[in-house]
């Protein structure tokens, strides 16, 4: 099928146009259009996956003018990323159907049916830019294109918070929105400066040409700038301070997507820095590993101290992203494979966790976890989802997290085994795993077991509607399936990083 990858980028955009132009009273229709378009792109990606297995990588070139062309590449690295992200987008779109309704009830209770459908329309219009942006970042081969898609991804969430759907009162929303903008733009600008610097050296913005930078003295600065820009997105200490705010104040249906937005910078790092410029990046390997390790442990402790359900998930994201970074920073085959696999596992688990937290906040009408208790009797499905997410994030077998963690720690050990530093590594690794285990399970036990606490709101407590829970179950199943049968994805990733 021609234009396979292009469609994955354009179809969501087209669907966004369709949503904008459709008039309807029913907000769910817009959701339906979104989901349908994303299903279509998923089918495309699966087809691309099959083609990848048989033919090797898929490369599409669209010339838009002299010297300007949009190239899209699907290989072992980008396709799993694109596929899993697409799946999560579908799941979250289903989840959003009811969730947006609820948000509108809360924020704009006096709205009439027409206005409500308007809000639905705006939501799904904005929503569809996310998958487009993600696909663009995943499949682009041109650095400027990557930059543009990343910027796109920064601005859209900003609109989400500032404009319509965020939490908190107007003043805090405004500040958080500005924070999101500032940090996103700061990171992207550093990235831009870095690639412009690279352009001055090799005269091209194509990723495929990047290896030409190898060995030059300026490459260090190029790499440093790009890395720092990505590090702001990846929430590595000390550039992580935006994450607890932004993630917590977002409407929860988007929160899963924001986790992807932060984490996809890891993919960009692999694609742009580690694969083309392996030798030059070695100098960053150990410092990055150390930073990632510190972030892992620090993020874990921070999460332990949280009482707000959404900030809890947000701080957890800080810790979990640095697991992927840790693996990638090892810069050997197993480590990068593991880091990328863990990235996929993390976004699955985090989407479930955030969404479950959203369900809890929505039902119990408080964000304070201390006021939740004994909810197992009323919301058993939600409890199962939370603990499934806990399993995935704590990287216990047989989830995908375990496979990812096994691989990236193996890679990290291979990197440092000649070093006494290895012992510190082991200790930090075990510690961070334990902390994750503790905070997810402890929070889950506190929320779902124990005596039933009276809820402040007058909302009856029961399980969310199926359109909210089934997509999350599907995500959990996928994570478990990947844990039991990781070979296909691992093989794909392996072919991509074989050069390391």
């Amino acid at each position: 099928m021609p234009y396979l990858l292009l469609q994955t980028v354009l179809v969501p955009l087209a669907a966004a146009m369709v949503v904008m132009l459709t008039r309807s009273r029913k907000g769910f229709l817009f959701g339906g259009i979104t989901i349908a378009s994303l299903f279509y792109t998923m089918v495309l990606l699966v087809i691309a996956g099959f083609r990848l297995y048989t033919e090797g990588h898929i490369f599409e070139q669209y010339t838009l003018g002299p010297d300007v062309s949009l190239n899209l590449l699907a290989d072992g690295l980008s396709l799993p990323v694109g596929l899993i992200i697409n799946l999560i987008c579908i799941a979250l779109a289903c989840y959003s159907l009811h969730y947006v309704e609820h948000r509108i009830d809360i924020i704009y209770p006096e709205a009439d049916a027409h206005t409500r459908s308007l809000y639905f329309k705006r939501f799904f219009f904005l929503y569809l830019f996310f998958p487009a942006g993600f696909m663009g970042v995943a499949f682009s081969t041109n650095l400027i294109a990557v930059y543009l898609f990343l910027e796109l991804l920064t601005i859209i969430p900003l609109y989400f918070i500032m404009a319509q759907f965020g939490y908190s009162d107007y003043i805090t929303r405004y500040k958080v929105a500005l924070m999101c903008l500032f940090w996103g733009v700061a990171g992207a600008t550093l990235f831009l400066i870095g690639i412009v610097l690279g352009y001055t050296q090799i005269g091209s913005f194509e990723i495929a040409d990047l290896p030409k930078l190898a060995g030059r003295p300026q490459t260090f600065w190029v790499a440093l700038l790009i890395l720092t820009g990505l590090a702001t997105k990846l929430a590595i200490i000390p550039l992580h301070v935006w994450m607890p705010w932004v993630h917590a104040e977002h409407p929860t249906c988007i929160a899963g997507l924001l986790a992807i937005y932060a984490n996809i910078a890891a993919y960009v790092a692999v694609r742009v820095l580690i694969l083309p410029l392996t030798a030059d990046m070695q100098v960053f390997s150990l410092p990055l590993m150390i930073l990632a390790m510190v972030t892992m442990v620090y993020g874990g402790f921070l999460t332990l101290a949280q009482t707000d359900a959404k900030r809890f998930c947000a701080c957890s994201t800080i810790s979990q992203i640095s697991y992927s970074v840790f693996g990638i920073a090892a810069m050997n085959q197993v480590g990068v494979q593991g880091g990328m696999f863990y990235f996929l596992s993390h976004i699955l688990g985090k989407a479930i966790l955030f969404s479950t937290a959203g369900i809890l906040v929505y039902t119990v009408e408080t964000r304070d976890m201390r006021q939740m208790g004994g909810l197992w009797q009323k919301m058993p499905l939600t409890a199962i989802l939370w603990f499934a997410a806990a399993l995935i994030l704590s990287a216990l077998p047989p989830t995908s997290g375990f496979v990812g963690k096994w691989f990236f720690f193996t890679g990290a050990f291979q990197k440092v085994q000649s070093n006494p530093f290895g012992l510190v590594l082991v200790v930090a690794a075990v510690l961070s795993t334990l902390i994750t285990l503790i905070y997810t399970f402890l929070a889950g036990i506190r929320i779902f077991f124990g005596p039933l606490k009276s809820n402040p709101g007058d909302h009856p407590i029961n399980d969310p509607p199926l359109t909210m829970s089934i997509p999350l179950f599907v995500l959990a199943l996928i994570a478990f399936a990947l844990g039991l049968f990781p070979q296909p994805i691992l093989n794909l990733l392996g072919t991509a990083v074989a050069s390391l």
């Binding site: 300026q218 600065w221 402790f301 332990l304 101290a305 050990f413």
Partner: protein, 589 residues
Amino acid sequence: MISTLPPAVIFIAGAVFVPIFRGRGKLLYLLALPVIAGMDLVYLPTGQSSATTFLDYSLIFCRVDRLSLAFGYVFVLIAFIGTIYSLHVKDNLQHMAALCYAGGALGVTFSGDLFSLYLFWEIMALASVVLLLARRTEDSRKAAFRYFMWHFFGGLCLLAGIILFVITRGTTEFNYIGLTDSASLMIFIGFCLNAAVFPFHAWLPDAYPRATVTGAVFMSALTTKSAVYILARTFPGNDILLWAGAFMTCFPIFYAVIVNDMRRVLAYSLINQVGFMVCGIGIGSQLAINGVVAHAFCHIIYKALLFMSTGAVLHMTGKIRGTDLGGLYKTMPFTAVCCMVGAASISAFPLFSGFVSKSLTVAAVAESHHVIVWFMLLFASAGVFHHAGIKVPFFVFFGHDSGIRSKEPPINMRIAMGMAAFICIFLGVYPAPLYQILPYPVDFHPYTAFHVVGMLQLLMFGALAFTMLILSGFYPAEQRAVNLDTDWFIRLPGRAFVRFCHKPLQAIAEVATGWAKSTVAAFKSAPSRSVEIEKRMDWIFHTLLVGLPERVSQVVQPLKTEKSELSWNVTYILIPFILLLLAILFVFK
């Protein structure tokens, strides 16, 4: 990577989830675990599997051949019986410890390399210490401490030996080791301690009588027999073991005669029986190893049966000393019968399991023409009947009436005892299934007229001696006393040493406790401290940095002219930016 599931994992991982279950569910879960492990065992592929590499060394978790499988079967079986026996226990910790203990023993049995062996060895030690502590009396706490010290020492020897071994031979895989250098000597000592070889045996009669009623069943089966297995694999044919084993069969029976606590009698008799096995390992021929395995299999069952029946008495009456008991057959006939079945088995009475297994070892000794050893073993066989076959049932259930009228133990204990008794009789009458799982082909027929009559003569005339001595009043009466053993060398000097070192030791202990407390406090405070750190960083970026333009403009403010502020501020910001851009473009050209 991990293709087959080591049965040890089923027990150890299963132990973690015990507290989740309650009531009937917990009982079912506890019983299901050995069953699942048994099924896993049946489907294990022979040879090495479940291997993984760790830092250039291979870890092999499933080394399956006839030797390890035989022990694997009996360990799972006794785990099942022991679990049934302990179903009434409400203390989750005991269940978890027993499961980990069984898992550790299985892990030791199937390990193919020294690292995993050491791991499971230590798991066994820890779990058995927990089982000792679970009794929660002052006495057992002290015994647990001594037990821990003994096994810690053994574990250190083993570890030192393993490290030396790996350094000198460059591999962690092991099969036959043999006493060749200091590494193998250290490993040998480590193994011998767990097998209660003299002089490293004193922990056994010290600790086993002080374990819980149900814990003793597990302890009697697992530590010593897994050590027997590992010795059979690594040091067969060593003459030291031949003599050590022969000595081990003889000296405990003297102690067993004069000891009062019935479970201590059984503990000494355990050393005696393990002595047979160690002796068989020392011979190392196929018949001898067959004998060792058969004997271990049967011994686990009938020793557990004996511990179970005496444990049942302890459970129902609260007493276990011969001086306090007697005449219990009147109200606990089932327990009495089970005890007698166990006693008959351990004495190697024909028609019981001991007869078909112990004789393999004795025959192997005879075949290798070690005359003195043979006499010693024969002496020990008569002696076993004496202290375990006669003394234990007699002084507990018969003998003088102590007036205690206790009821039969709970149904689960009776079922467990019944199962064990059934197996003892079944294998005694029909040993073929047992012979089939032995490592080497068996060409031994225990039921020859000569053998049966000979054994019966040995036993019955020993009984005659007992009868005559009792009737003549010459038999040593049960007395309340403590008997010295080799642990005297450790306990008394140990105490004196401790008193000598009390002050500095106490100081060290206080420092260590202080460290532990501060570490725990550090971890507890870590979340809140990280919140503060977060707030700080937040402040730096979002208040300080954001406030910088303000401060800059305040500084710049006086410099403005009549032109509007905005354009001047923008200019002031633009200038450095352009300079930066120029710097980048030109300096890095």
